[in-house]
Symmetry: C2
Subunit: 341 residues, 2 copies
DNA sequence: AAAAGTTACGAAAACGGTTTCGTGTTAATA
DNA sequence: TATTAACACGAAACCGTTTTCGTAACTTTT
């Protein structure tokens, strides 16, 4: 057991002052070569490393980033997180992660905990409850205190900060037009309750595509699934009682559930009914047929978010740079669940 | 923009000493009620919160836990992580996460970064490369410095520390016996190269079950898939050229790939060939038929690991408690990919 | 030889807290 | 009235760094 060695220890052992040790290790030319060599050798031998906490206190920056996400067991968020971690790490930052579990209170409490010195900035995707309550005072207060925040995916216009979002609307339109170009006319949408801004955008994109091609909107073809309930029955009922030849789902779980149900009802995917989902995750890759899906490029989103944050934190400008919003272009990955020409 | 307020600020404003403020806020009875009230009111008004970094420096503990995992986009690890985060949070700890990406160097560098004061202890699952190299000096050094470590899932006997593992062998035996009890005789195993201790244990469990029922081991029925390559062809070839009526896969991706290939080859699952996978993740739940699978109870593992670590960190005993290994009992979840009596 | 400049180092403040100990003032006791 | 105890607070050390500034001891310049 050899506890960590400090500057003070080195100073005592070598009979010099703490300042001298500090300077020697930073290669200051104030210190003679002789002394520097002695100190460096000693430090190396005892594997001296400066204490991060002391540095943080001194420099008033921790080189820690706080990441707050609603859920970790979720493909999209994990990929975003990987992007964040990768970029942050390459820039010498560590990542402290908090899971809000879709709860407003947890989001608030966790952020306040971290804000008291533990981190230099936040990257955040809003919890469902926060979006529902539409209460963002905790974010405003942090911004007020000068703590930078970057929002991604689940964002809000109420907060002025850097943001990274997906072009949900555009890609939804593109997805639906992919159906249309293959001859589909009765195109359904399966979505979630739309206090999620992303669901909303996706729905708008869907409607836009129909409009573009003069297809009348049939509200019966839009299924809004409640949170948490068993969806299988609702989906089964949905397909049994309607004529549908294509369906866009706002996530891959819905998509793969649909596929399974559709196949059990005796339809062929993609010939009778085509399917497109969101999130190019593991489910989409290993279903059969493989799912045509919207790749959200989570890792890219994460990298962009981290870059926004670090740029702002490290900016030495007196003027705060204007807030930017980066729109990541989603990609439609065409696979077996659609007819691709 | 109202920057964070410090004890010094309060002291200056109220014309008392810093010590008085500190004591007042801690409700010390050294301070008169009058003064306490004034100080508390002021602190509350300005939303004073003590600076975590200063506390960490003073107390020489950060209340941060470092978690190092090989991959984050991975169901098992995310569930473990959720367990860790949940327990740690409830005990007032934050979690700093580093992804080793299966790389020895990243594991070493990240841990050394964090060890210089940023965290009080580690929870770790070894990277593939670390297991391959069998080099654990970085862990030994940290333990030497008095930093506690808890290993989970991918552990090693070389290191004396608390551990949390799954009873991989036993549950594999159970899984294979589930095949046998349904009449299967030609039971295959699809596994990974076995520098992973878990794969090894699972293989042993498989062999044990065959032995228990006097079924001869056929090495041809064991398929070891190399890391990273395209597995589809290998699996297809495997099933085309062998008589197989059941297959145990060491993860759910292999399992669902098998299922897909088996079905394409015209066999029925589970009647012609039964399948069991490891990891009760999203793939197992949404395949059709649903996969019979080994639930690893990642969240429980995470909670246990965090509890081990925090117990040790907070222990005031002078004597170090002996190291413990907690074995989590996996559960076989019987679903549609096997014949269940 | 006096003045000026270098060199090589140490003292001390600062970051933001906690805590021990000392002390002036008042109240209780002898 | 002198002594002691209780009260209420402040000074200072400490956690481990960095950094500014001061200064002895030489060296160089004139």
């Amino acid at each position: 057991m050899k506890p960590k060695i400090t500057l003070k220890d080195i100073a005592r052992e070598l009979d010099v002052s703490i300042s001298t040790v500090s300077k020697a290790l930073k290669n200051s030319k104030e210190i003679s070569k002789d002394t520097k060599d002695r100190i460096k050798a000693f430090a190396k031998f005892y594997n001296y490393r400066p204490n991060n906490i002391a540095l943080s206190l001194k420099n008033r920056r921790t080189k820690n980033i706080g990441v707050v996400i609603p859920d970790i067991v979720h493909h999209f968020f994990t990929t975003v997180f990987r992007g964040i971690e990768k970029y942050a790490n390459s820039m010498g930052y560590n990542v402290i992660i908090c899971i809000s579990d879709e709860s407003f209170d947890k989001e608030v409490i966790n952020m306040e905990m971290l804000a008291n010195g533990s981190i230099d900035g936040f990257i955040l995707s809003l919890s469902a409850e926060t979006q529902l309550k539409n209460d963002f005072t905790h974010l405003k207060e942090l911004l007020d205190q000068g703590i930078p925040i970057v929002l991604f995916d689940r964002v809000t216009e109420e907060i002025a900060c850097d943001k990274v979002v997906l072009n949900d609307g555009v890609i939804s339109t593109e997805a639906v037009e992919h159906f249309i170009s293959a001859g589909s006319k009765k195109i359904a949408l399966i979505t979630t309750e739309d206090f999620f801004n992303v669901s909303e955008s996706r729905k708008e994109g869907y409607l836009q595509a129909l409009k573009n091609h003069n297809i009348e909107v049939d509200e019966n073809l839009i299924l809004t699934l409640p949170h948490g309930l068993d969806h299988a029955n609702l989906i089964t009922e949905f397909f049994q009682n309607r004529e549908i030849d294509a369906v866009l789902c706002v996530n891959e779980i819905f998509a793969v559930q649909c596929m399974s149900i559709i196949q059990h009802l005796g339809y062929n995917v993609p010939n009778d009914i085509s399917i497109i989902g969101f999130t190019d995750g593991i489910l989409s890759k290993y279903s059969s047929p493989k799912l045509t899906t919207v790749a959200q490029h989570g890792e890219t989103m994460g990298e962009n978010a981290a870059k926004f944050l670090i740029d702002r934190m490290e900016s030495t400008e007196m003027e705060e740079a204007p807030f930017k919003t980066k729109v990541i272009d989603a990609t439609l990955i065409k696979r077996g669940s659609t007819i691709n020409k």
